[in-house]
């Protein structure tokens, strides 16, 4: 078995363990390439179905093409999709683009806090209605106890320390020095009431593996990843104001792979275009300890 097939097999096994073990399970879909691979893996694992809702956190600053792509796939693949947002912070203009807070605080409010509220059901959830084609306000949302997330070990230091099944406290915090053991294919499936778990099926994938898989499976991805003649493309997607495109002429998956393996990005960190990581050396770790993905 080749390495990519082995990665796929292990990820599918993890998705099925999660589905069998957690009643209130959801999967975060950031619209980026990693969580879209995760979505594809779920369809592979469950034979064309995605038996849990996909949750998208809308900061309202996402690049518009991302939202268009999200809604197109939601309709085409008949996905059960909900989005959540931190309306309070948006209305009060407590955002970095409004100039009122720094980047890290903006992430904390529009992503971490919005996510926590959406997962717990305290914040609003809007569910895609396949008949009307619109998002409808969800009544009486139940808290999710299992959350599938597409983080990878090679992205950044603290992510290299994650477990496949990682317990979080009620507040969503990560007790990083107290992680439970994981042996063979036996993951943590038993949880004290009030805690929840994050499931990380892509931990062993690298950025190169993701693109190899997208190429092999022909998974549709957001056009922003490819150069359309301007000599620029996005390598990592986030909010418009904090994510910069890179100089690249790669216009398809094969060209991206050449760049990653041996070309200009072979030794450049993927998230180097993401501004919030550079604020302080452990910026992302701090955010993650509080519940950021």
């Amino acid at each position: 078995m080749d390495a990519l097939t082995d990665l796929e097999s292990r990820s599918i096994h993890i998705l099925r363990e999660a589905h069998a073990s957690f009643k209130e399970l959801c999967m975060l879909w950031s619209i980026g390439k990693d969580s879209t691979v995760l979505l594809w893996l779920a369809r592979r694992a469950f034979f064309g179905h995605v038996p849990f809702p996909l949750v998208h956190i809308d900061t309202s600053f996402k690049i518009p093409e991302m939202i268009a792509y999200r809604d197109r796939l939601a309709a085409e693949w008949k996905l059960n999709i909900v989005y959540g947002e931190n309306r309070g912070a948006l209305d009060a203009k407590q955002t970095f683009p409004d100039g009122n807070v720094d980047r890290t605080t903006c992430c904390r409010l529009l992503k971490t806090k919005a996510l926590m509220q959406t997962l717990s059901g305290e914040g609003p959830r809007f569910r895609f209605d396949h008949t009307s084609g619109r998002y409808e306000h969800e009544k009486d949302p139940a808290p999710y106890t299992g959350v599938i997330v597409g983080v990878r070990s090679d992205e950044e230091g603290s992510r290299s320390k994650e477990r496949y099944f990682s317990p979080r406290s009620r507040e969503g915090t990560w007790e990083v020095t107290e992680q439970p053991p994981e042996l063979w294919e036996q993951y943590k499936l038993d949880f004290r009431p009030g805690t929840h778990v994050r499931v990380h099926p892509l931990l062993d994938w690298t950025e190169t593996n993701i693109w190899e898989y997208i190429g092999r499976e022909k998974i549709p991805t957001v056009p922003l990843y490819y150069d359309h003649g301007t000599g620029q493309r996005y390598r990592s997607l986030g909010c418009g104001p904090c994510t910069a495109p890179v100089e690249s002429r790669a216009s398809n998956v094969a060209e991206i792979l050449v760049e990653l393996r041996t070309g200009k990005f072979a030794n450049i960190a993927e998230r180097s275009g993401r501004a919030q990581d550079t604020d302080d050396s452990a910026g992302l770790e701090s955010l993650r300890l509080e519940g950021y993905m």
Partner: protein, 616 residues
């Protein structure tokens, strides 16, 4: 860059290998891995400079370990707390290096990292020599089934590259590894800090002509394919996505990952422990062409020709392959990671494959000090070693509440298990011996025993209902044994203290379990007032039905057939259940019978229905 890239790097289907780095705390594991990354140019541009700048700012001297110890706590304490996965490649293949902590407190993290690995590097500090965790980690590797090991003798610069020191460590440690049955072909002298013999060969050890660390890891061989072994697939789930988004779908798909062997469309398949059989109708796929067979390592989805009920926890096997053992009693090597010790008699959960079964330790056969390989003798245990402490390894006999299907030597994946205590995985182990059940469920027509356990207050009607049940079972031609409380007390006299009652119930439970084992349906009528002793009975019997005869105290006292309540109220009898001794009501009995609301006939029929349902 493209033109100069080594040929192998451009191959798409590159192999990947997982290697764990273990050893005693401070022997330089993270430094070695950091150096490996830096010298194979596997770090992102600027990463080294960034860490150097951080060190300058915080006043720490630069260490390669900081490339791995990414958490704030780790950098401030200068130790690795949790495993890190890092990626690097050689022209031969891709690697995931798992950097494990050496501190004893984080052994669970070391085990987590090592459980994933195909090979290991054991790091020993040349100046300190072989230490406690150098040995303990090697013991854990052998238990985890990692048989490719190389030893890296680090910090050779601190001992002036002395060959004598190196050889002394090699001789000492080689002898230890031999006792474990671990084969380590290479011992490599290195300096992680200076970079000698990690990637680069230097002039510091003219006496050494063996491989560098990077050459050693390229010499490891990938795991052999497991397709030639018996087919095993722990059932993860059975899917029926009717009415789901994505359209109507009436397929009933048995899902699981094939852990060994292969299965093809048309093959006969047997699920254990239930013994149910069917044939594979199709192997389902999404977005790929369906395939006629599927093999070890792949997630499968099978549809069957017969409509049978199977659920998560069963093991799918292939008729014709060597069958696994179905057992409720296992002898196993166990390593324990929990803060509170592993204690016989306490309730745990065993997880093997996808099966989850309540478990108890029947006895601890021997406890081994993982760092000396010394086994505690039985006399030592008699002096009070009745538990397995954190980070110890022991041979234990485990009793399961329900049978599981497992393998002993044939298939590693279905012989290893974890033990859950209080929501957490706190131990793991490997089955060394599985005591066979009489009935494997396949081709065995022997009658299956079961235990019906009637509990309730004195005078509740246990004996009356039990006799009616026995008569009905005998009429069906079954082999039945009736164990009645009064008769048992006559045959095995005992007192009424909590300890004596508990011991009495355990004796009766044992007797019932032995009879059940031989295919007898055992009907027990016993006050058995304590939840814990009834739980024990349930844990050692295979098919156990708890029948709570819930007739109220008022009704029992009014009946007072034996005149016992009157005597107890008069103070002539003490420790009388319901009067001055507690009765702990069953939390989840199979049946709840109130004899003040039903006839004996109705009550007996309810019990027979339960037995019928259990057998279906």
């Amino acid at each position: 860059m493209l033109a100069n890239a080594p040929e192998g790097l451009l191959r798409v289907d590159r192999d990947r290998m997982y290697i764990v780095v273990v050893g005693h705390v401070d022997h330089g594991k993270s430094t070695l891995v950091g150096r490996l990354l830096a010298d194979t140019c596997s770090l992102p541009d600027g990463k080294l400079d960034k860490v150097r700048a951080l060190c300058r700012r915080t006043g720490h001297p630069f260490e390669y370990a900081f490339l791995l110890d990414a958490l704030k706590d780790e950098q401030s304490q200068g130790i690795t707390i949790d495993v890190a996965r890092v990626f690097f490649k050689t022209p031969l293949r891709d690697y995931v290096i798992i950097d494990a902590p050496g501190h004893n407190e984080f052994l669970r993290n070391m085990v987590t990292g090592a459980a994933r690995a195909q090979a290991a590097l054991l790091v020993i500090d040349a100046a300190e020599g072989v230490r406690e965790n150098s040995r303990r980690h090697a013991t854990m590797l052998s238990l985890l089934g990692i048989d490719q090991v190389a030893v890296v003798v680090n910090k050779m610069d601190l001992v002036s590259w002395s060959e004598k020191t190196f050889r002394a460590i090699e001789t000492d440690y080689r002898a230890f590894l031999q006792r474990l049955g671990v084969h380590a072909p290479y011992f490599v002298p290195v300096s992680g800090r200076e970079g000698d013999f990690v990637v680069r060969r230097t002039s510091h050890a003219a006496w050494y002509d063996g491989p560098t660390v990077v050459e050693v890891i390229d010499s490891f061989t990938p795991a052999k394919p497991k397709t030639a072994r018996p087919f095993r697939m722990p059932v993860q789930d059975v899917y029926r996505f009717t009415g789901h988004t994505g359209g109507a779908d009436d397929r009933r798909i048995v899902a699981g990952t094939v852990v060994s062997g292969r299965i093809s469309v048309g093959d006969e398949i047997a699920f254990l422990p239930s013994g149910k059989r069917s044939h594979v109708r199709s192997i389902e796929e999404f977005a790929h062409a369906p395939s006629p067979s599927i093999e070890a390592g792949r997630p499968a989805g099978l549809t069957l020709t017969e409509h049978i009920y199977v659920a998560r926890g069963e093991l799918a096997t292939r008729a014709g392959d060597a069958p696994p053992t179905v057992s409720t009693r296992l002898r196993a090597s166990v390593f324990w990671l929990g803060k509170t010790p592993l204690t016989p008699g306490k309730d745990y959960l065993l997880r093997l494959g996808t099966a989850r079964v309540p478990m108890r330790v029947e006895r601890i056969d021997s406890v081994m000090d993982a760092s000396t390989l010394e086994r505690a003798t039985s006399t030592e245990r008699e002096r009070g070693r009745e538990t397995v402490e954190r980070n110890e390894v022991a041979d234990c006999t485990l009793l399961l509440a329900r049978p599981v299907a497992c393998d002993v030597t044939e298939v590693l994946e279905t012989s290893r298990f974890v033990i859950v205590d209080d929501y957490e995985i706190r131990g793991g182990g490997i089955v060394r011996e599985a005591f066979a059940e009489h009935e494997t469920g396949i081709g065995d027509s022997r009658p299956r025993g079961s235990v019906v356990w009637l509990t309730g207050l004195s005078g509740a009607g246990k004996t009356t209902v039990a006799r009616a049940v026995v008569a009905k079972l005998e009429a069906q031609g079954r082999r039945v044994e009736f164990l009645d409380g009064d008769e048992l007390r006559f045959a095995m006299p005992t007192g009424f203290s909590r300890e004596e009652r508990d011991a009495h119930v355990r004796r009766v439970a044992f007797l019932a379990s032995r009879l059940e084992h031989h295919g007898v349906t055992v009907v027990v009528a016993l006050i058995s007032p304590y939840r814990s002793s009834r739980g024990h009975a349930r844990s050692i019997c295979r098919r156990f039905s708890e029948v709570y005869v819930s007739t109220s105290l008022e009704v029992c006292e009014r009946r007072d057939v034996k005149g016992l309540y009157a005597r107890a109220r008069a103070g002539l009898l003490t420790q009388f259940t319901g009067v001055d001794d507690p009765y702990e009501v069953p939390e989840a009995p199979e049946i709840d019978l109130d004899t003040s609301h039903s006839t004996v006939e109705e009550a007996a029929d309810a019990v027979l229905r339960q037995l019928g349902a259990q057998e279906a």
